[in-house]
């Protein structure tokens, strides 16, 4: 077991009438990509902002390399918020240089421009960047101090599929440098692709934690069958199947696909719209909470 670089202990954050985070604890070993998943309002952004030192918890603490968050942590943390505006009238290079000047040590700006595919945009006004280009600049800013821990709070929200995939490739290249990454996302594909370990948060608590594949193995059979709710007659509800009812569909998990299909055919369930796929983290969330992940 690697030594934890970050430890979150019994975190509690209360606002008047609301408990946003309710006793969350976990630790993140160095070099791991750790994902916090959950629907909007689950408490994941509050948790990550406490971990970043931006918010003060009502109770509990976060420790970086065994110490409370302080100057050493601020020098070692790189952060990409959900939404950040930059100073007007500054070019990409000037924006990077401004943040570079805030840290005692940092990466070479040209190297960052190359890493984040911003070389051709270095002299462009940052207001004239596309969504994907701006997000790459914000990632470059988050890397400007060569951080030991990189926080990415829903980094690809609002990006088109191509820009999202480009961004994932970038994060994977950063992961390859053995950086510790804390990622919040509601894109399950993103979490499955990037995260070594995930914690699913709902109503301010962690409801499941582990490696994505291990969690799926633990909670699901090998295969998942999906049918529109309208195609699933009430009489079929009595069948001996592992069934999950979602809003518009019925999901059935099984280790024996042939036997399950035979059961459905025998019960005269129409299979014209049947989809067969492996279970994913969204299914896991549905299984655990009975609620769908909401964007």
């Amino acid at each position: 077991m690697r030594a934890p670089i970050l430890e979150v202990r019994e975190l509690l954050k209360q606002y008047p009438g609301v408990t946003a985070v309710n006793g969350i604890s976990f630790s993140v070993p160095e070099g791991m990509c750790f994902g916090l998943l959950g629907p909007n309002g689950a408490g994941k952004t509050t948790t990550i902002e406490i971990m970043e030192g931006i918010l003060t918890p009502t109770a509990g603490e976060v420790r970086y390399r065994g110490e409370p968050l302080g100057e050493r942590f601020r020098e070692a943390a790189g952060i990409l918020f959900q939404a950040t505006a930059l100073q007007n009238f500054l070019t990409v290079r000037q924006s990077l240089a401004m943040f570079h000047g805030l840290y005692a040590h940092g990466r070479d700006i040209d190297e960052l421009l190359k890493l984040c595919s911003l070389e051709a945009l270095a002299e462009r006004d940052n207001r004239k960047l596309s969504g994907g280009q701006l997000q790459r600049l914000l990632l470059a800013i988050a890397l400007v101090n060569d951080p030991a821990v990189l926080f990415l709070d829903e980094p690809t929200t609002g990006l088109d599929p191509q820009a999202r995939r480009n961004f994932w490739a970038l994060v994977e290249s950063i992961k390859a440098q053995r950086k510790t990454i804390i990622l919040t996302t509601h894109y399950m594909e993103e979490a499955e692709l990037l995260c070594d370990e995930v914690a699913i948060v709902d109503r301010g608590r962690i409801i499941a934690q582990g490696a994505p594949r291990a969690l799926l193995r633990e909670h699901f059979a090998a295969v998942l069958l999906e049918l529109p709710r309208a195609d699933f007659p009430d009489g079929a509800r009595q069948l001996p199947l592992q069934r999950i009812d979602a809003d518009d569909r019925v999901e059935i998990t099984t280790d024996d696909l042939d036997a399950t299909l035979r059961t459905l055919i025998d019960a005269e369930v129409p299979l014209k719209n049947l989809r067969i796929r492996p279970a994913n983290l969204e299914d896991l969330f549905l299984e655990l909470t009975g609620r769908e992940l909401r964007a």
Binding site: G53, R74, E75, I79, F81, Q87, Y103, I141
Partner: protein, 334 residues
């Protein structure tokens, strides 16, 4: 079309009414201007002439001249100090009670001429001591006021709005995640604005002074020091306003509430010398008043650092107090 228009009209009205700060300032600002102007320019008719009296004016109250209507009698500490005022036509006549009384009158001053006639009508034996000296032209008097007003607007709105925009856009939150402290951030804002102000004000000074053929009577270095302290006090004031709030309209209202009284009371356009005492005390509390007083003393009358030291100390204290309060109450995020 009407339905869509009414829908947006209704929503915007709700937005405005529910923004209590803006609503209050929208009502308070015009009211406060009317009330303030009423106090400054209302009341009984103003004296037409000013006579300086060496020593205590009350000591010579029995003399007939002191009962002349529409003449204001001001005590001056010494004949030398009073002479300075007569030469610059800031008073119309200087009187030293005695037997016979002595008086100094500026032969270049039309109001001095009339005041002398009034004195001699009351006391024909008064001893005449003529002096000469030009009054400061209004344009020269206005010049420091215009520069000061520019500094005030640039500092208050320039700094206040920028910090507000940074907070609204989340840029401050991003900076908060770096090793940058609130003190460092605020200091950088102060220094940046100060640099800009000094360059702009120097440029304006050179251009306007050339245009109106103005030459400062006092030290340019001292004038620079006064400008630095004056600008710092305004920047600190702007930062204090922007330290916490996230509503653009509220900050706008607060900045207007600060700038309008200074525009009217600090002597940008006209002197408040004849206004009620409490108005002058209120005006003296405003940093722009101290800034303009010191600047005019140096630019128009050649005052040295000793004469303007109280103004400089006041500006420095205001800067420290507002900067301290701004740093203490500063919020990185909405």
């Amino acid at each position: 079309m009407m339905r869509r228009l009414l829908s947006v009209w209704h929503a915007r009205n709700l937005e405005f009414i529910r923004d209590r700060g803006t609503l209050v300032f929208t009502l308070l600002l015009p009211l406060s201007i009317i009330v303030g102007m009423g106090f400054i320019f209302g009341g009984p008719p103003r004296p037409l002439f000013k006579v300086g009296v060496v020593g205590s004016a009350a000591a010579a109250r029995a003399d007939a001249f002191f009962h002349t209507r529409y003449v204001q009698f001001l005590a001056v500490p010494s004949a030398a100090a009073g002479l300075h005022e007569v030469r610059h036509q800031r008073i119309d006549l200087l009187l030293e009670p005695g037997a016979p009384p002595r008086y100094w009158v500026n032969t270049d001053s039309p109001k001095g001429y009339i005041t002398e006639k009034l004195l001699l009508a009351a006391d024909p034996h008064a001893l005449r001591l003529p002096v000469s000296g030009k009054a400061v032209p209004y344009l020269d008097w206005l010049f420091p006021g215009i520069l000061g007003m520019n500094v005030m607007f640039s500092c208050l709105f320039g700094v206040g709005y920028v910090v507000l925009r940074y907070r609204q856009s989340g840029f401050l939150k991003r900076l908060h995640a770096t090793p940058l402290s609130a003190f460092e951030f605020l200091s950088a804002q102060v220094l940046s604005r100060l640099t800009i102000i000094l360059i702009v004000t120097t440029g304006l000074y050179l251009v306007i002074a050339t245009m109106i053929h103005f030459h400062s009577a006092g030290s340019i270095a001292l004038l620079l020091l006064i400008t630095v302290l004056g600008a710092l006090s305004m920047i600190a004031l702007g930062l204090t306003v922007a330290a916490r709030f996230a509503s653009e309209e509220l900050v706008n209202g607060l900045l207007n509430l600060l700038t309008w009284p200074m525009m009217l009371l600090s002597g940008v356009w006209f002197s408040l010398a004849g206004s009620p005492k409490w108005v002058q005390w209120a005006a003296d509390a405003l940093p722009l008043t101290q800034f303009l007083h010191a600047a005019r003393e140096v630019m128009l009358y050649g005052a040295g650092i000793g004469a303007v030291a109280p103004n400089l100390i006041y500006l420095a204290l205001v800067t420290l107090v507002f900067l301290g309060f701004g740093a203490w109450s500063f919020k990185w995020r909405i």
